[in-house]
Amino acid sequence: MEQVFGRPKALSEKRLHYCPGCTHGIIHRLVAEAIDDLGIQDKTIGVAPVGCAVLAYDYFNLDFQQAAHGRAPAVATGIKRVLPDRFVFTYQGDGDLASIGMAEIVHAAARGEKITVIFINNAIYGMTGGQMAPTSLPGQKTTTSPYGRDINTVGYPIRVAEMLTTLDGPAYISRVSVHDPKHINKAKEAIRKAFEVQIQGLGFSLVEVLSTCPTNWGLSPREALKWLEENMIPYYPLGVFKSPEEVSKVGA
């Protein structure tokens, strides 16, 4: 799946620390490629989460701020309000965004904050060693749902893209996956579109990316891709949930 052509300018030379087969790395590349394509490297500020992507600031050739766990959308709001002509994105995991940071993401979306959110849904807490996430599937075994996620006691997974779509603030919301080359291309398109929405000042944009965590799922990289396709996509349907017609096809 490694793309053969060169490293995007917006990506640094640092070696990624992600586990073998983890798709965080692919998604980093897609974000960097979108930034390159749109020619906005000099005007983009990233906000890193707390999660496995906590070191995202090392991997992008961009100005970055590191936020407290879950607070990236609030930090991004602060940056964007000071620098309305710059482009600001957050990169957040499902624990970061949909658990501890649920208030921040909902309110940034509701305000129509003109930021872009790259939301990595891997159905688990990677960094802390495989605890249940708000997006863990019913029956999924994790270190804090050792008997499988029991919907009677811990409830149901949260479909973030659909939930935020109920708000009027967001301009663009979609869900993509990176489990095979075809879907990776679609994911890249979606990420690029999300940035375009911001460039055109149309409002809040979010791309939910279904991602793997072979380490904490206890699967090989190949099995993990298959597990994502067979278990996550049925629960988290792919597609565009909200999109402004005005977004032009070609970048700025």
Partner: protein, 352 residues
């Protein structure tokens, strides 16, 4: 004697809590304490208890507020950044006088910091931590065995004084394994004394109970504060715990708690072999602090060396206790590494 079993500190504090009758645990993952919620998620559902992974530490501590207010033995655990998030809730809990236990397996800060052990949350733990004039009862175990013993004590003291209690550990105490003995029979929560103040529903028999921290009228707020201060005085008089080793004939007393006191103990043993008169004073309650005992040692002409994994926090309480009557020096580590036995030994030897 009961059997010795090997346990991680994190698991021991969880099992100790369960044996103390804790059936309600609310937490949020954070390294290096993840084994606490993981253990609770395995055990509590099997014994009629409740484990909830809250959406955040803010939520977890407020679940504890509710569960403790409803009369249950409730606990939460976290590590430094998560404990910071709990401070609002802890301030409310202390003011509303809801018993509960909070475990902090501290890691290096400030900010997001790192995952290495640290004692830099001392101020936060013993001086209140959130807004307002309040105190937690703070217990500092130095071994996996004390994780078990002190978490039981924490629940008892919390109930006795209707006050939140904290176990202040660190990454090492949470991650290490040692043999532990469960000395007493597990407590069945049904056998615990009734809590007539709890909000459990009127059953038509009494005036409504209220768990509250609001005091809008100045006189009312003052009376709440006076009551709390009165209680803190009583706790300070009755609940100080500490351990002194080789202190009586010592010229130099090393003051240290938790992990650091173990390192100090090894260094002191070495220095004793070299004929140096040095002893260890180990506070077990960090609040209430053994102020009087340290005062007495100062009055007996001893000098002090305080060793901490911080820039110097407990040393301030030692200085307050000594009140200028003896020299109090400090050796601290900031870089996330713990002081080594050799380092502390050198610090001791350089003072003779």
């Amino acid at each position: 004697m009961a059997e010795r079993v090997m346990m991680k500190g994190n698991e021991a504090v969880a099992e100790g809590a369960i044996r103390a009758g804790c059936r309600y645990f609310f937490g949020y993952p954070i390294t290096p304490q993840n084994e606490v919620p993981e253990y609770m998620s395995r055990r509590l559902p099997k014994i009629g208890g409740v484990f909830i992974q809250a959406e955040s530490e803010v939520s977890a501590i407020n679940m504890v507020y509710g569960a403790g207010g409803a009369g249950g033995r409730a606990m939460t655990s976290s590590s430094s950044p998560g404990i910071s998030l709990k401070q609002e809730g802890i301030s409310y809990i202390a003011t509303a006088e809801v018993p509960c236990v909070i475990v902090n397996m501290a890691r290096g800060g400030p900010g997001l910091g790192g995952l290495t052990p640290s004692q830099s949350d001392y101020f936060q733990a013993v001086k209140g931590g959130g807004h307002g004039d309040y105190h937690l009862i703070v217990l500092a175990p130095w071994s996996v065995q004390e994780m078990v013993d002190l978490v039981g004590l924490a629940f008892d003291l919390a109930d006795k004084y209707r006050n939140p209690a904290m176990i202040l550990g660190d990454a090492i105490l949470g991650q290490m394994m040692e043999p532990v003995t469960f000395k007493s029979e597990p407590i069945d929560p049904k056998d615990l004394p009734a809590k007539p103040w709890a909000t459990v529903g009127l059953s038509g028999e009494r005036k409504p109970n209220l768990i509250n921290s609001l005091g809008l009228l100045p006189e009312h707020l003052e009376s709440i504060n006076l009551r709390l201060q009165e209680k803190y005085k009583k706790i300070a008089e009755n609940e100080v715990r500490f351990e002194g080793t080789d202190v009586d004939d010592a010229d130099l007393v090393v003051v240290a708690y938790g992990t650091t006191s173990r390192v100090a103990k090894s260094a002191i043993d070495q220095a004793r072999k070299d004929g140096k008169k040095v002893g260890l004073f180990r506070p077990i309650t960090l609040w209430p602090f053994p102020t009087k005992q340290i005062q007495e040692l100062a009055a007996a002409g001893k000098r002090f060396l305080v060793v901490e994994m911080s820039a110097g926090q407990m040393v301030e309480d030692v200085r307050l206790a000594v009140n200028g009557e003896a020299s109090v020096e400090f050796f601290g580590k900031l870089n996330g590494a713990i002081p080594t036995v050799e380092e502390v030994y050198r610090e001791i030897m350089s003072r003779f």
